[in-house]
Amino acid sequence: MSTDDTSVPADRPTEEITVTVNGETVTTEVEPRHKLSDFLREHLGLRGVRVGCEHGVCGACTVLMDGDAVKSCLSYAVQADGAELETVEGLADDGSLHPIQQSFHEEHALQCGFCTSGFVMATKELLNENPDPDDEEIREGLADNICRCTGYQNIYEAVNRAADRMEDE
């Protein structure tokens, strides 16, 4: 994780925030208008956070804030002050994929992959709350994310496989 605070010119107002991202705590100055998605991508180098629409429909920028899935393009970085954030970068453990990532891979639940981090994080929230969702619950849980390539069927399969795998662990 790299930090780069040089992008804010001196003549613009900033506020200090402290956030914990994937277990690491960072204190930094940000512009109040700086979006959380841009903050994560540009300040912290977490480019797995994808920006697809910037108006909260596509879900590509989904991250977990204190365990809840949020669209980081609709949040400002200052709103995350004091929060614990999780992004897709925090999932893989020493290079071995998290069960959700592994299941997306095995079920071919990604093609271009631009929406994938968002789907993976939304799935994480879903399975945290409901370890064994049925199709209807998967549908509800992932209705805030758009995928343009896969047609969703393999995403259902991936979520089911991830649920089984996490139950076994």
Partner: protein
């Protein structure tokens, strides 16, 4: 080399004897980096000292630019420059245009012609500041009347380009066979009108570019997510006024979807490059979603059809007559022209030899048109299937029977269309029967979705269920030289010789490295289709090694020969053909190298399973040994250019020489979406989508299936939800994803796929390509099933997308009592 592959997977199987990797659903090598957030899309490219660009865009559909005042913008702290048409006209060239007689600059010159048209480019320290400065640019407009309706545009009351003098940028009437005779002799003529709304691919990743001018070399490095970067690089280097070797277009290994649309994003590449040259710093531009939907040069075809069918009372179709107007938007965009490709499947799966085909390409005050999955074919197949349905109604005939009677028979294969394209292979009647059997067995039975008792009970609730199977052709493999037909002198086409036809092969190269692994390089870009996986899988078979021994990267526009690339389901056929040829070439090279090492004849050595053996002594040299004995890389490097399959065959000579669209593979599908229409709300729900698909040899069935799922999902969106509407003043009505409704997990039904494999006799591997199916055949199939469901109400699908509003309106206006 960009796009490092994932680390070798533990689960990649060992090479076992003669078992092949080709044909197996290997998991993708692209996935690991994507899933862990390490993929580098162009949005992630962030060189040091980079500036950011934002665009001032027109809020008017049609207006003269009286004045542009940039002084306040330049006062914004952090704003480095503002470019207008005046600035760029001093140093650069207009962008290449799709038709002769048009000159489009990268920024509006004197007049704006659609809402969202870029008027000025602002460059600043970051995108936030750039947008501040955009707000400070004052543009004084004098508005004009605009033209929005494509049929209205034909009248030329308001002309979008005065210097051209008409809104009809191009028109052509093509007559094949004895159309007049067919229509005179037939028992009846059925005619109707259909319309196809403005839709597009809307990839989740917007367009992006990072341009860097190198003062020392006087050249440009441009990272961008343009599609077909080796083919359309001229749109960038010609605009900049440089030679092809001085402008490197580099597309990252990961592109967040394109579906054809990103072919036309050259404007952004040019503007960022110009700004970079002026400021001597890298300049980045990432289109935001509103820009993308409003004026991002990425809308696709919008068509109004008048279709006639000559048909006998026994159901024999005698002739087809198609007229349509295609709304090109404000500029004829190079290299996009989607009105001709339907000629390659002009009669779909039906045997019709007498055809008239006429189009008018009109300019209106809307965003310019770009390519989209299917390249103009989906709307044609839809209009054709709808007129066949209309014929069945007028004849009082079962539509299934009418269709069955006219399907091309297997003994007619290869089948030459009147438009001179050829379907290579397939049994359409069998596919049609099979999909009917599947539906009957699974759904038209007790407990099924079409259980007659359930259907009747649902109807009592105002919910109308139905299905109507259809068969569709998905033409594969673009790249014969037809796409510039409209920029050619048509009178000369009749005398054009076969030798004048340009070949557009696909290039692949590879080298064996000192550690015995192989590095292959693809000469095109990709956007999620799994090309790295495909090449590593196929080349592993050619060389008798493991896919994990092969790493696959990409070439930029200068390193790669100017060739075609990813379009029209081309890559399965072209990359697999190129891989086979490259494998043969490498094996021959390595045998020659080994023979040199052993000082023996080539006949005395044999390549097998990643080694060359000396036949008499049994000695062998591994790939690593061989690479270490070839200091100059003379033998261990090889390249291969696989030629377009049609260019090998005399049967295509007439089509090729006259520049008719040539697609030498006919993948096909028999579809049966089961739909339910709520007569009260107008909502159409697809309960389940049955599809039997044949794309010839399946190189990787997992990827094939994924393409089908994705294509059908886009077909669902096109049929029911998506549309770029405009009001009468030319204001776009869908500029957010709240208005342009992409299908979510809630809209896409369960898809039940069956596959058959009829290998193509024309291609190296028997593959036919599979990238566009679902989008080509989904809308027509869904429309036919809606017609079946709404038969009791006498409502038919005459306008795509069939939104709840439109369905309700048709039901209200129906004369049938409910």
């Amino acid at each position: 080399m960009s796009g490092t592959q994932s680390p070798p997977e533990a689960d990649v199987e060992e090479r076992a004897g003669e078992a092949e990797f080709t044909g197996r659903g290997l998991e993708r090598v692209e996935d690991h980096r994507i899933l862990t957030g390490r993929a580098e899309y162009v949005h992630d490219v962030a060189p040091e000292n980079c500036l950011h660009m934002a665009l001032v865009r027109s809020m008017h559909a049609h207006a003269d630019i009286v004045d542009i005042d940039v002084s306040a913008a330049l006062e914004v702290p952090g704003c480095e420059a503002v470019l207008t048409a005046e600035d760029i006209k001093e140093r650069y060239n207009p962008m290449p245009c799709g038709l002769n007689g048009f000159e489009e600059w990268s920024l509006a010159d004197g007049k704006v012609r659609y809402v969202g048209e870029p008027v000025a480019a602002v460059v600043a320290t970051d995108r936030y500041v750039a947008e501040d400065a955009v707000d400070a640019v004052v543009v004084d407009y004098e508005t004009r009347d605009c033209v929005v309706d494509p049929r209205g545009a034909l009248e030329d009351d308001v002309v979008v380009h005065e210097e051209f003098g008409s809104n009809v940028a191009d028109r052509e009437e093509l007559v094949f066979g004895d159309v007049e005779g067919a229509f005179e002799d037939a028992d009846r003529v059925v005619e109707s009108s259909y319309s196809w709304g403005r839709i597009s691919g809307v990839p989740l990743e917007t367009a992006g570019v990072v341009a860097q001018y190198d003062d020392d070399a006087d050249s440009f490095d441009i990272d961008c997510n343009i599609q077909l970067h080796t083919l359309v690089d001229d749109t960038v280097y010609e605009t900049l006024g440089y030679g092809p070797d001085d402008v490197h277009l580099n597309v990252p290994a990961d592109v967040g979807g394109s579906f054809g649309t990103k072919i036309a994003i050259h404007r952004y590449c040019c503007l960022a490059a110009m700004a970079s040259q002026q400021l001597e710093r890298p300049v980045k531009f990432v289109e935001d979603r509103i820009e993308n939907l409003q004026g991002g040069d990425m809308h696709s075809s919008e068509r109004e059809y008048e279709v006639k069918l000559a048909v006998d009372d026994d159901g024999t179709i005698r002739g087809l007559d198609v007229w349509f107007v295609d709304d090109f938007g404000a500029w004829p965009r190079y290299p996009v022209n989607q009105v001709l490709k339907p000629l390659s499947v002009v009669s779909n799966a039906y045997d019709i030899q007498d055809v008239r085909y006429e189009y008018e390409l009109v300019l209106t005050n809307k965003t310019s048109q770009t390519a989209y999955r299917g390249f103009g074919v989906p709307s044609h197949i839809y209009a054709l299937e709808m007129i066949v349905e209309e014929a069945a109604r007028e004849l009082g005939m079962d539509p299934d029977e009418l269709r069955r009677r006219n399907l091309i028979a297997p003994d007619q294969m290869p089948y030459e269309l009147p438009t001179k394209n050829i379907y290579d292979s397939g049994d359409f009647p069998e596919a049609f029967e099979e999909i009917q059997r599947i539906v009957d067995e699974h759904e038209r039975c007790e407990g099924g979705l079409l259980d007659p008792e359930v259907v009747a009970a649902k109807r009592e609730e105002g919910k109308y269920r139905g299905v109507r199977p259809t068969v569709h052709i998905e033409p594969g493999v673009s790249g014969s030289d037809w796409t510039d037909r409209q920029r050619s002198d048509r009178a000369e086409l009749d005398d054009r010789d076969r030798d004048d036809v340009a070949e557009l092969p696909e290039h692949l190269r590879a080298e064996v490295l000192a550690d015995g692994t192989v590095k292959a390089y693809i000469a095109t870009d990709t956007s999620g289709q799994g090309h790295q996986t495909l090449v590593s899988q196929l080349l592993a078979d050619e060389l008798g090694v493991l896919p994990s021994d092969i790493e696959v990267g990409y070439l930029d526009s200068v390193e790669a020969p100017t060739e075609y690339g990813t379009a029209a389901s081309r890559m399965a056929v072209m990359l697999s053909g190129a891989t086979a040829g490259l494998g043969r070439t490498l094996v021959e090279n390595l045998e020659a190298l080994a023979a040199r090492e052993w000082d023996c004849g080539v006949a005395e050595v044999a390549y097998r399973d990643g080694r060359v053996e000396r036949v008499d002594t049994g000695e062998s040299l591994s790939l690593a040994d061989l690479a270490n004995r070839d200091a100059d890389g003379e033998f261990v490097r090889a390249s291969y250019d696989y030629e377009h399959p049609a260019s090998q065959l005399e049967e295509f000579d007439e089509a090729l020489s006259r520049k008719f669209p040539v697609y030498p593979t006919a993948a096909f599908a028999a579809n049966a979406p089961i739909v339910e229409v709520d007569a009260k709300t107008g909502e159409v729900d697809i309960l389940k989508f049955y599809s039997l698909r044949d794309c010839g040899t399946q190189l990787n069935p997992t990827i094939v299936e994924g393409q089908a799922h994705g294509g059908i999902a886009q077909g669902v969106g096109a049929a029911l939800q998506e549309e770029f509407g405009y009001d009468d003043a030319g204001q776009p009505q869908a500029i957010t994803l709240f208005d342009y409704k992409l299908p979510s997990i809630e809209n896409v039904p369960e898809i039940k796929l069956e596959h058959t494999e009829t290998p193509s006799p024309f291609t190296e591997t028997g593959a036919k390509g599979t990238g566009e199916g679902g989008m080509i055949d989904g809308p027509a199939a869904i429309a036919a099933s809606i017609n079946a469901a709404l038969e009791p109400l006498d409502v038919t699908v005459d306008q795509i997308p069939f939104t709840p509003n439109r369905v309700r309106e048709r039901i209200r206006n129906s004369s049938v009592e409910r």
